[in-house]
Each structure stands twice: as C-alpha cells, then as structure tokens.
C-alpha cells in the first residue's frame, strides 16, 4: 500500500534508517557492485544506490565514471549549462554554525536595493550569462516576496531563466514568485540527520527540521519547474545523507512529475570566522562516488557544480556527469560591481572568469550553453 505523504516525508530522515543502511552498506561485496554495473544504468532503487555508494564500490569508480559519462552525454548531450549566482542580502536571522552568514558572526551586513541588484545583474549579463540564481540569507523583512517579484520582473529582459535559493516560503508566496518569472527553487536540507540538524541549527526559524523538509512540496506544488536539492557535505556521514537525499528526490519526482530535480553538492569549506573542526568532512573521492552513484540511479537529474570547488577538481568533474556549472561567482552582495568589502557566504575556490570556464568546457569536448530556457514559457 502506498504510504501517505506525511509518513513518506517523516521517514525521509536518517533516524529510522541509520542502522539498517549502515549495515547494508558494509555488507556489499565487489560481486554485488559488479552485478549492479551490468544492469542498465539510470534507474533508481534504494538497493542499487546502497551498492553504488558502498565502501566496496570504491574500487569501481573508473567503470562507474565511464557509465556515468556516457549516460550523461546520451541524456543531456555534449553540453554543459552555465549559470551565475546573484547574492542580494547577507543578512540572516539564523545561526547555522557552519555558515559565514550566521547571525552571530560580526561583519558588515549588506542588502542590495533592487537597483543595486540590477547593477550586479548587468555585469553578470555582460559576461554572457542568461541563467541567473538569486541567493539570499533568511532576511524575510527585506528580501520579501514583493522585492523578489519586482527584481525578477526587471531581470526578465536580460535573463532567460531565473531561479532562487532563498529561505522557505509558503505555497502561495512561491506561486507569486513563479508568476513573476522565477521558475526554479533550490533548497538544501543541509542534513537529513535530525539530531545533528538540531545541533547545527540552534536558533532561528531554520531550527524547524520538518518545515524545511516539507518545503520542496510547497514550491513544487506552486508550479516551479526546477527543484534543486542537496545536503551540505561535511555535516554528517555522506553515504547516509546521499541515501536520504535520493529517497527525498525520488518521492518528489513521482509526486511532482512536471518538475525537474537537480542535485547540488555544496561541500563545507572555511567561511568567514567559522573555523571549527568538522568530523564528517568529505574527500574528493567521496564527492566523486556520490555524484556518480546518483547519476547511475537518476539518468535525467541535473548535476550542479559550484565555484566552492577548486579549479583543478572542476576541470575533471565537468567531464564526468555535471550538467550545470557556475562561473565567475561572487558570493557577497554587490560583488559583481566591485564591492569586495561585504561578507562572503563562502570563499570561491575557482575564480576563473566565465570565458575561461567556457574554454574548459570546450576542452573536454562539450558545448557551453548559456541559454536553455525562455521567459516566453511563462508569459
């Protein structure tokens, strides 16, 4: 019998699965992985993902990479799409202990007026971008629905696709954003480990794990075309997190079948004034195994790579299974118009220009794509 939505959602965390999944991951043998690699790639089941994420699968990264590359080319073509983030505010009411925007961190906070944001957007557009991602801290008193809707309306002449990575809103609010031209929302659960989540989010509205977990349902129901999901890698065991993330994605894909799900892979890296030690930090090989395993389970999911990762690694990853990549990013409000004194959310590890990234994409035999949508779809 199909479980109701509420049950499915509450089970989408590690609490009920941790021990079982942990045991299953350890029990996978090389033969199981080989068998998995012989079945047609791209179809999801939790058992398949367990086998591909297992420690035993680590010695099969090369055949996994080859399958992932060829599946990505078959489904997405020899192309990689480019986008740029536009940070509009680094004011935040939350106190996520890992984040540079943590409200307890002391630095000059900046909010861009719509006009200032448009000035940054002009720089982004001049670099060739047509796909823009609006990013903000949880700053609901300034970055209101009206603010975002006004900004989106004014961006529509210059950008063919506008998405947002913002604090949770209601379905009605998301619907307004959609009508204004924002048609994709990214919201990371950060971690699917409820207990760790509570530790990492000691105060502010973000403390509410369930609210965050249910939020993608709200923006998907509001008609958003693109659903961006992810965990902040480094907060908990990456294998378990990937399993929970995949269950969440599979649920959303079935229920909101008109929307396309993509995965992002933000990895914890030093942010301003946050230099604690972290027990779950994720290594390059872990990150690669996670990307490959997800690709081999979700043939058509977008795989997004940001400038948090260093240039050398990005050069290799674009050839595996990445479908969308940012370039020339500034993670501080006003950064594109030369304000480098405002607080960054994270340090950019790849500061090459968009033109240089496009060249990297070409060098691995892919066409950089700047436009893959049209505002005419929505109006």
């Amino acid at each position: 019998m199909t479980k109701d939505i509420k049950t499915q959602l509450t089970e989408m965390n590690l609490d009920g699965h941790r021990d079982k999944w942990m045991e299953e991951l350890q029990q996978v043998h090389s033969d199981d992985v080989l068998k998995e690699l012989q079945s047609p790639p791209g179809k999801y089941s939790i058992g398949r993902l367990v086998r591909l994420l297992s420690p035993a699968a680590r010695e099969f990264l090369e055949p996994m990479a080859q399958q992932a590359q060829s599946l990505t080319i078959q489904r997405f073509g020899k192309t990689i799409a480019l986008y740029a983030p536009l940070y509009v505010s680094n004011v935040c009411v939350n106190s996520c202990v890992y984040c540079g925007y943590n409200r307890t961190t002391k630095f000059g906070r900046t909010r861009l007026s719509v006009e200032q944001a448009l000035a940054d957007a002009d720089v982004i557009a001049a670099e060739g971008f047509r796909d823009i991602l609006l990013v903000s801290g949880e700053d609901a008193s300034f970055v209101t629905v009206d603010y975002l809707a006004e900004l989106a309306c004014k961006l529509r002449d210059k950008f063919s696709s506008i998405s947002a990575e913002i604090y949770p809103m209601t379905e009605a609010q998301y619907r307004r954003l959609f009508e204004a031209g924002i048609d994709g929302i990214t919201l990371y659960q950060e971690t699917y480990d409820r207990q760790l989540y509570a530790q990492y989010h000691p105060s502010g509205p973000k403390r509410d794990y369930n609210r965050r977990l249910e939020c993608p349902d709200d923006f998907a129901a509001a008609g958003m075309r693109r659903i961006g999901l992810g965990v902040l890698l480094g907060l908990a065991d990456w294998r378990l997190e990937t399993l929970a993330l995949a269950e969440h994605a599979a649920y959303l894909m079935k229920k909101y079948w008109r929307a396309a799900v993509s995965f992002s892979f933000p990895r914890l890296c030093p942010a301003t004034n946050v230099q604690d030690q972290w027990p779950y930090l994720v290594e390059d090989a872990d990150l690669v195994q996670m990307m490959l395993a997800l690709r081999l389970c979700f043939a058509d999911a977008g795989i997004v790579l940001s400038t948090r990762e260093r240039a050398e690694l990005r050069n290799h990853l674009v050839d595996l299974c990445v479908t969308r990549i940012s370039a020339g990013s500034k993670t501080n409000p006003g950064g594109y118009t030369g304000h480098d004194d405002t607080g960054k959310q994270f340090e950019i590890a790849d500061d090459r220009s968009p033109a240089q990234i496009a060249e990297v994409i070409r060098s691995v035999g892919r066409e950089p794509i700047w436009k893959d949508w049209d505002t005419a779809f929505s109006r």
Binding site: I73, F76, G77, K78, R258, E367
Partner: protein, 257 residues
C-alpha cells in the same frame, strides 16, 4: 529519389535533423551538411530566435535548410502556442514542430494538450508538425484539425532504442493522409532504414548523430540508410516468410491429372 511534400513544400531529403546535444556548433553544422537534410529543427528555448547573431542559429545556413522551430519544454498548450507565436513574429517562419512535454524526464508528449495547441495554431495559420506518442487515434484527430504531418515516436526521446512502437506506427502509416515522420528513439542507421522500409515518409534524428563519436560520419550513415530504406520501400520488398515454401503440398494434387 521521389520527393516528399509537406504543406506544399518539396523536400529531396527524407532525413530531418535536430540541433541539440552537439559538442560544438561547428560540428553540428558539418553534421547537418553531411546528412543531406533540408529541414533542421531548433529548440526555441536554446536560441535567441530574434537574434541573427545567435551562435547556434548563425551556424545554420538558412538558405539551404528550412529552420523548423520547436516548442520543446512547453508544459501545456498555452505555453506552446505562446512560443510558436513569438517565434513567428520574430522570424516570419510559420512552421512549428509542436512539442508539449510536461514530464521533464522522458519528455513524453501530452496528447490532449498537443491536440488543443495544434487546433489553435492551425487556425492561426501555422504549418504544424506535432510530436506525438504512437497513438493512431490521436494521429487521426491531428490530421482532422489540419496538421501538416504527424510525428510519432519510435521510442522515448534520446533512448536510441529503435522502433519499439512498431505495431502502432504500422497502423498510423496505414491510415495516414498526411506525411508520417518517425521522430525520437531512432538510435542507429538501421533503425532509420527500417522505419523507411515500413513506409514512413521521413525520419528525424538528433541524439544518435550528435552524441556519436564521429557525428559527421554518423550523419552520412543516416543519410544513406534513409535513402536505402526509401529505395527498398519503393522497390517493393519481397514478403518475409518463416519457413521455406514447399510447392503446393496441399493442392498439388489438383494439377496431377
């Protein structure tokens, strides 16, 4: 080779080409050239249709190839109609490959919305080439509202699986009053030849060419296969038989005096 006529326009080539998924616009242009095609479809989402300097559009010689804008990405009739109208306003091209694909994973066409959009666009003066599931009744309805072709899929788009919908396509072919173009899922030249042998009027290929190791050589292979399949169809193929035919084992006695 006999000519194909769609909405009064003649085509020597029965191979139509898509423009997505190529490693570069240069390779795309060379593959288009090698394919011998005269009709090239372009996703409106991918290009600035009103900008002649658009890097993809400018790689296509509009004097040699009819540009067929498509509405890929449209989730319903209203979106597809809006895109088609914007495209015609910007380019003057009244042809449209109608794609209404609300599911972003398999990109399967929505028959109900496609029919709705087709009826309205035809009324508005468009030459409509709808991408559909291999659904014979829907194909008839689309003919009835005035579509210039029907374009049933052989298999899910990008799957390279070949003629998985063979039985339904045979029915469509037997009933069609407009050209039938087999679209989506043709993964190898033999698939294209097979579709043409069955009596398809044309085939449309993208993924199989664009993602081949050598797209230009693959485009040539599809050109030859499409021509071979058409030629075989016109030549009147000998019927297949599972067994060797003994000469009149049951009625031979009638000839024995």
């Amino acid at each position: 080779m006999d000519k194909l006529v769609i909405a009064g326009r003649e085509f020597q080539s029965r191979l139509f080409i898509g423009t997505g998924k190529y490693a570069s616009n240069q390779i795309m242009a060379q593959a288009i050239e090698a394919s011998g095609t005269q009709m090239v479809t372009v996703a409106l989402r991918r290009v600035d249709i009103d900008n002649p300097d658009d890097s993809l559009l400018s790689a296509i010689d509009r004097k040699k190839f009819l540009l067929l804008p498509n509405t890929s990405g449209a989730r319903d009739a209203a979106e597809a109609i809006r895109l088609a109208r914007l495209s015609r306003a910007a380019t003057g091209i009244a042809w449209v490959k109608l794609e209404v694909t609300p599911d972003p994973y398999y990109l399967l066409p929505d028959g109900e919305e496609t029919l709705k959009a087709a009826a309205e666009l035809v009324k508005d003066g468009f030459v409509v080439l709808p991408y559909i599931n291999a659904d014979p009744i829907l194909a008839k309805k689309l003919q009835d509202v005035g579509c210039a072709t029907v374009m049933p899929l052989a298999a899910p788009i990008g799957s390279n699986k070949g003629l998985r919908t063979r039985d339904a396509i045979e029915i469509i072919l037997s009933q069609a009053t407009v050209p039938v173009v087999i679209d989506a899922g043709l993964g190898s030249p033999s698939h294209a030849a097979e579709a043409m042998e069955m009596g398809a009027d044309a085939v449309l290929v993208n993924t199989a060419i664009a993602t081949a190791d050598d797209p230009v050589a693959m485009a040539t292979a599809f050109k030859l296969a499409t021509e071979a399949g058409r030629m075989a169809r016109l030549a009147g193929m000998a019927p297949q038989s599972k067994q060797a035919q003994a000469s009149s084992p049951l009625t031979g006695f009638l000839r024995n005096e």
